[in-house]
């Protein structure tokens, strides 16, 4: 009877929409608060702890008048809350200050270095997902077999091996000894600067320019650092996939499917794998965010001109604006990916709705 159903379903739809809107509002608020927290931390590090920022500008032999004038000009005589407010306004209007070591604005530097990191981390996560998920599924479906043992060892090594060390060993073996891959940097020196940066992603730019040689050269340079990063995400993704799959395979509906005579391949890839796709998205998101962080070490090892290398160079030069700027950008991307995968989980999993 339509008369009794219509108000009911309208009510349900409205309630569902309200709940969805509430979830979105909650998401926006938590992301905003977390960003604010990140800003508070970088502000705190930059203004409160280190050596007097005024002395850093005027030098320690400046007279008291010069010192006081600089202090007022920098706004440091105002209450901390006001200073923090100015800082937040500056950051949101895209002003992260000047880098002392490069002489450019930090924002300009970061937008120049970020694509290299993005390219490496993306290839890394592709390696991690394309190998890690199937390996985890196989390990779970043959629990206790040799391949399961190998994957467990790989998973443990992913937790206990320093990324920079693996990168160095890789360089010594595959570059110096076997000559299979290109060395540090994104390209061989004689290819450098031949392709005009359009996206900043060398693989894309070289293809757009039709330079196949440069494309291949970029790949030989990218493959080792991306594989090292990929190894760590593979270890994590395979471990999580295995444990999710083991959970599913012990469920009764799997037993029922087996009893009905469903082929094992279908049981594993449809019955057991389908429900774990949603939690896997969260794992992959976390792993991708982790790779952005891991690239700091890897870029130092491979002299990769990305944001991590920029950060470590700035650290050694005590270039605080650059340090805080890159911390802020990496932190913001990290938080954003984290929260997005959290929301995706809630949107895609019918039980969490």
């Amino acid at each position: 009877m339509p008369t009794t159903e219509t108000p009911d379903s309208a009510f349900v739809t409205r309630r569902r929409w309200r709940r969805r809107l509430g979830a979105i509002a909650g998401f926006v608020v938590t992301v905003f608060l977390t960003f604010l927290g990140l800003l508070a931390i970088t502000f705190f590090i930059g203004r409160v702890i280190p050596i007097d920022p005024v002395l850093a500008v005027v030098g320690d032999r400046a007279s008291n008048e010069v010192y006081a004038a600089a202090r007022t000009a920098m706004g440091l005589d105002q209450p901390l809350v006001v200073q923090f407010f100015h800082y937040v306004v500056n950051v949101f209007s895209g002003d992260l200050g000047q880098s002392v070591s490069t002489g450019r604005s930090v924002v300009e530097d970061l937008s120049r270095f970020f694509p290299a990191t993005l390219e490496m981390a993306t290839i890394g996560i592709l390696i991690g997902v394309l190998l890690g998920v199937p390996l985890g599924v196989i390990a779970a479906s043959r629990q206790g077999s040799l391949i399961d043992q190998i994957i467990r060892v790989v998973g443990l090594l992913g937790y206990s091996m320093p990324a920079f060390w693996l990168g160095l060993v890789g360089l010594a073996l595959f570059y110096a000894k076997l000559r299979w891959v290109g060395g540090p940097g994104r390209l061989d020196i004689f290819y450098d600067g031949l392709v005009a940066p359009a996206t900043g992603l060398l693989l894309v730019d070289s293809l757009l320019a039709g330079e196949i040689d440069i494309f291949w050269n970029a790949i030989t340079h990218l493959v080792l650092p991306a594989s090292v990063l990929g190894f760590f995400s593979l270890a994590y993704i395979a471990r999580m996939t295995r444990s999710f799959m083991l959970d599913q395979l012990s469920q009764e509906f799997v037993t029922t499917a087996r009893v009905k005579g469903v082929p094992e391949r279908v049981v594993i890839w449809r019955h057991a794998f389908n429900p774990i796709r949603v939690p896997l998205i969260t794992v992959i998101g976390l792993s991708y965010a982790g790779l952005l962080e891991g690239s700091v070490m890897i870029e130092t090892v491979f002299s990769w001109p990305g944001i991590g290398n920029y950060l470590t160079t700035a650290l050694l030069n005590a270039d605080m604006n650059a340090v805080l700027g890159s911390t802020l950008v990496i932190g913001a991307v990290f938080i954003f990916i984290n929260k997005i995968s959290d929301v995706l989980y809630r949107v895609l999993d019918p039980r969490a709705r």
Binding site: T30, L33, T34, G37, L38, I41, T42, I45, G46, I49, P50, L156, L157, Y159, S160, M161, P162, A163, F164, W165, L168, V169, L171, A172, Y175, A176, S243, L246, A289, G290, L292, E293, G294, V296, M297, T300, V301, L311, T312, L315, L316, A318, M320, V323, L324, T327, I330, G331, F334, I335, N338, K339
Partner: protein, 299 residues
């Protein structure tokens, strides 16, 4: 009555007997798992190496022998020598002291801090909880390594500041655990009984809530130690942790970077030490989790 019977007695006569008995049960359960035994042996070896480094190391950690620069591994120099002719094997042995100090201090600073924040938030609930946990969540959702890097940049390079930076970034996870545990025991009858006897919140938290959080805390801290070692080594590698000539493993790898193409042993050898010790903590942590927290078995 044998010692074993006394330890396993069902109705212990004193608190001391109950505690020792429980420790004994955990210990025997750990012995049944080969990997956790291996982990325990590795950690024990690390501690012994650190204590007896002066007698175990064949050479000094900082004594230079420029005639013997960059010598490959041999019977006189088991892991070869570095660019100043220092014996890498001896430096790895001395380095165990630094690693143990870092791990120990980080655990001593961050675990109690996290415990306290989590227990207070869980016990009082309401706005205290929301405030403290909001703060914790903000810290939790930030990249740990980057945050530690920024803190070290501000505090200045050095091993003490590295320890502080790592501790600052690792307490939030412990606060989450302590809060979850506190929430499950807050409404138990024994807590109500203590409260009715007029115990102050401080007394309830310290005397009755925190002791029940310790086992999940020990598991988590042990498992986290591998990560702490890696972060500390990473800071050392970037030149922000232990400063030369200290034989810190990460800093040693960093020195060997220049020679990686020809004298591979300078950079690789300390890496094996890092891997073995981190694996030891992973094995022991996994074993402890299986024994103390059977819910998660097999994961």
């Amino acid at each position: 009555m044998s010692t074993r019977d006394w330890l396993l007695e069902d109705s212990p006569h004193s608190r001391w007997q109950a505690n020792v008995g429980r420790a004994y049960r955990v210990f025997t359960a750990l012995l049944r798992n080969p990997l956790s035994v291996l982990g325990g042996i590795i950690i024990l070896a690390l501690v012994l190496t650190a204590i007896f480094a002066p007698w175990l190391a064949p050479y000094s950690a900082i004594g230079q022998d420029l005639a013997n620069r960059l010598a490959p591994p041999s019977s006189t120099h088991l892991m070869g020598t570095d660019e100043l002719g220092r014996d890498i094997f001896s430096r790895v042995i001395w380095g165990s002291q630094i690693t143990l100090t870092i791990v120990g201090l980080v655990a001593l600073i961050s675990a109690p801090l996290g415990l306290l924040v989590g227990a207070v938030a869980g016990y009082f609930g309401g706005w205290t909880d929301r405030l403290l946990m909001g703060f914790t969540d903000i810290f939790l959702s930030m990249p740990k390594l980057i945050l530690a890097l920024a803190f070290v940049a501000a505090l200045g390079p050095g091993i003490n500041n590295a320890i502080i930076a790592i501790a600052i970034t690792s307490w939030p996870a412990y606060a989450r655990i302590a809060r979850a545990e506190t929430l499950t025991i807050r409404n138990s009858e024994f807590i109500a009984a203590v409260q009715l006897q007029g115990a102050s919140p401080l007394r309830v938290i310290v005397g009755h809530v925190l002791p029940l959080c310790t086992s999940s805390m020990i598991i988590r801290v042990t498992l986290d130690m591998a990560g702490v070692i890696l972060t500390a080594a990473g800071l050392g590698f970037l030149g922000l942790g232990a400063q030369p000539p200290l034989p810190e493993w990460g800093a040693m790898i960093s020195r060997g970077r220049t020679f990686i193409l020809d004298q591979w042993w300078v950079a690789t050898m300390p890496g094996f030490a890092i891997i073995i010790v981190s694996l030891g903590f992973c094995f022991l942590g996994d074993g402890l989790r299986d024994v103390l927290d059977p819910k998660n078995e097999g994961k």
